[in-house]
Amino acid sequence: MLHLQNLTITLGQRLIAQVDTTVHGGEVLTIMGPSGSGKSTLLAAITGTLDPAFAQQGRIILDGQDITALPTEARRIGILFQDDLLFPHLSVGQNLAFGLPKGGNRKERHKTIETALRDVGLQGFANRDPATLSGGQKARVALMRMLLSQPKALLLDEAFSGLDADLREQIRALVFTRARVQNLPVVMVTHDPADAEAAAGPVIHIG
């Protein structure tokens, strides 16, 4: 459960965004608004990558733990952007291994990665160069990389805007299903009403 307790972001005197809400496990909170309305700034506050020019008040509580002051890497919040952002110098398997927490011997880690790839229909792709994948394949690898890091919440920053219509529906369904299966609270920023509709959760309009 992700609790955004009176989370307020200001730039100087200007109010950028303000939310006070709770997102339950398996639920998708959709934040909509025109570009420049501060949607991404809000997500940056949740991930802990807010530019110091902004001021932030309120608290972020994830599964009962106050993570407001924690650095990004300790928050255990996964994020997907519009770009897949696979690391180009690592193979598909190495990208997944980067997300997988420490532990287990090489063989076990290898097996986990193979399983994850098979789950999204990409078995045998571990040694591939990410640059050779299609858009949909990349999106699936990015999703699995994030899920392997065992996040407790999921943020989607226009995660599906880069995909064409067919693929978009398919990947969206995959992400939502996965989130529901793992009981993750999801915050989605989008400007596409179809995304909000598919999420079938609460919607906040800002800006």
Partner: protein, 557 residues
Amino acid sequence: MTLLAWVPRLTLAAMLLPVAAGLWGVFAPLFGFITLNGASAAPMADVLAWPGLPRAAWLSVVTGVGSTLIALGLVILILSQLHGSRALMWLRRALSPLLSVPHASAAFGLAFMIAPSGWIARAVSPWLTGWDRPPDLLILNDPAGIALTLGLAVKEMPFLLLIALAALAQTDAIRSLAVARSLGHSGAGAWLKVVLPRLYGQIRLPVYVVLAYAMTAVDMALILGPTTPSTLSVQILRWMSDPDLTLRLQGAAGAVIQLALVIAALAAWFLAEKLVGKLGLLWITSGTRSPWLPALRPLAIAAAATSAIAVLGGLASLAVWSFAARWQFPDALPEALTTRTLDRFLPQLGAPLAETALIATTTTLIALILCIGCLEAGYRKRKPLEGRVMWLVYLPLLIPQIAFLPGLQVLLISGGLTMGRWVVILSHLVFVIPYIFLSLSDPWQAWNTRHATVAHALGASPTRVLFAIRLPMLLAPILTAAAVGFAVSVGQYLPTLLAGGGRIATLTTEAVALASGGDRRAIGVYGIALTLAALLPFALALALPRILYANRRGTHP
């Protein structure tokens, strides 16, 4: 993190402390804080009484300002005429390696080309000119400094051109040009009116660096410059090494004058910029479409080709002399080729080559760590690079070496520090850090920081993100920056000589020392070795990422 926070301060100290200390060392004798037994109490008055001073100072100004004007003019001519053309792409490829050719090598090569007994005269004699012995023409070391001016211009033009091309990538030149042309302006006219004003703002500091350098260059002036008298910088070096030891204070006073000249020239240049800007604005708003401008295109191509050929031909002549047996005027080529010169000098090359590589590698590694530390510290604080920072980075490049290195030597000795390799490395850092920083900061800033956000979200610490993601992804620009730093270190003459107490023999110091002997074969061998030492790292920087990331297309777009 706390350690990282100190890196920017440490870097600034490494760049600026030696400069500040050296300036103190040249100013102190003027006010009697440093004295020598038997030396004049008024060294400045002695310098002012030197009959050659007006001429030497004038030479320093005309060769410096003249060569900078020519280099900048060529860059503007070439870019305005050839922007977006295939010729420019070709030129860029041809000139990039020339950038790292040390000044001494370029000067030797040029001297071999243009001397009355040089390659050009040989190529056209006697069948065209009727010369069976070299004409008694004052081409090299001419009293007006023309050879030096042209040599500096040819060497600095590629630097400015490549800087300008890099800056152009950040301006919205292509669309601006399209708009201006649709309004009826000729291609070259549109470029001058809508691109140049924006571009100049971005290359202003490098232009100042070129001006300060050209006014005070020692190695090029020793090889190409006038001798009756020489430029002020060369005269300062003479004073610093005169048998009459008390003249060293005179050298320090000369350094102060040199510094004043550079500052005055920079100020004058700055004012001239304003004036030209005003006049340019009148021209831009006058409505003229300048349809005649594209007629200058052949001139641009000729200028570009000439400067490339001058340096490349010079290097080729160095290579031929390295293998020449007897070679008398007016033979265009030696009677025979021999490895005798090589046999004679190769065994001696090993030690200076190793010294050069050791110093350059250490300097480059330290500078690279400091620069990456600075950039990473800035990134973690999310502090954008301000103009102020860029001025600080350029500062060591704007203060002439000949103005502060003599003072540095005096201070180091009085501090009881032994001259040697470490002091040379410290003095090289002053010049290597800025170039590495300038080379690395753009690609560093351009990196998509969402990669970092994603990696953090996957649980990676900032350190892990730096070493596992950012540095590997930036491998190619990091290696290029390292190659730039290496080449800068290889080319340093004065810092090596003065901070090394003459004990540190690198390829550059050996080559310039040999130049005083005039043995063209020896100069050829050392000049080529020097060039290779500066160029090979670039080849490595290009090749390594392709080898390491052979199977990662996304890393080399």
